[in-house]
């Protein structure tokens, strides 16, 4: 089944290889695309319909009904911020719709704290060849489709 993945944030679509973290850049947990957020405080939205199976202030995973997990990581090394500046709009285990606000955060504050605010969107455990339509360099709005995951 073809699964459309929405951008969790507004910004510039960027190749995962440009993410300043080897785990994401080398697709160790899966392939995908990153979005360099534009602007300040905003809500990161769910990339797919599903259940929030993992939830940290700075990152979350939404799993679809057929068991595919999409990871959204808000900035790099932002675990060190201990949740400061991040506002959770959902709880772990909650069902969400694609486009629904999940976490409020401020990419500008992340940048000011010395971290990259880039947002990797990862198709967990997927093989790169099942993803398509990965544009990079273009501007996307939160909720815009950024790639398709065929199973």
């Amino acid at each position: 089944m073809s699964l459309e993945i929405l951008s969790p944030v507004s910004g510039k679509a960027t190749a995962m290889t440009e993410v300043p973290d080897p785990v994401f850049a080398q697709a160790m947990v899966g392939p995908g695309i990153a979005v360099l957020p534009s602007g300040g405080r905003q809500d990161a939205v769910a990339p797919v319909d599903g259940t929030v199976v993992t939830l940290h202030p700075h990152a979350f995973v939404v799993a679809t009904e057929d068991g595919r997990g999409v990871l959204v990581h808000l900035g790099i090394d932002t675990v060190k911020q201990k949740g400061e500046g991040f506002t959770l709009h959902v709880v772990k285990g909650e069902a969400v719709r694609a486009g629904q606000p999940v976490v409020g955060w401020d990419p500008d504050a992340v940048k000011a704290a010395g971290y990259s605010p880039i947002v990797p969107v990862v198709a967990l455990d997927a093989k790169a060849e099942v993803l398509s339509g990965l544009p990079t360099g273009g501007d996307v709005e939160a909720g815009d489709p950024i790639f398709t995951w065929d199973s």
Binding site: P22, V23, Q26, M28, V29, V53, T54, H56, H58, A59, F60, V61, G69, L71, H73, V79, L124, D125
Partner: protein, 78 residues
Amino acid sequence: MADDRAEKILAGLGGAENVIEVEGCITRLRCELEDMSLLDEAALKAAGAMGVVRMGAGVQVIVGPEADNIASDIEDLL
């Protein structure tokens, strides 16, 4: 199954006495070790790690989104 994995990962980190701190992040275990030379990357990969990234005095063991659960299992073993 996760318990078994925690034990194997802990062994790959050089055992409980070698671990100063383990913190579960969303995709990885961030570990601070007493002696980095006791790190056994092959054992960690055999235990299911997708990658092992050395960072200064620490090491990140990439285990995917179950990192949190594995980290708490490891903490129980420390």
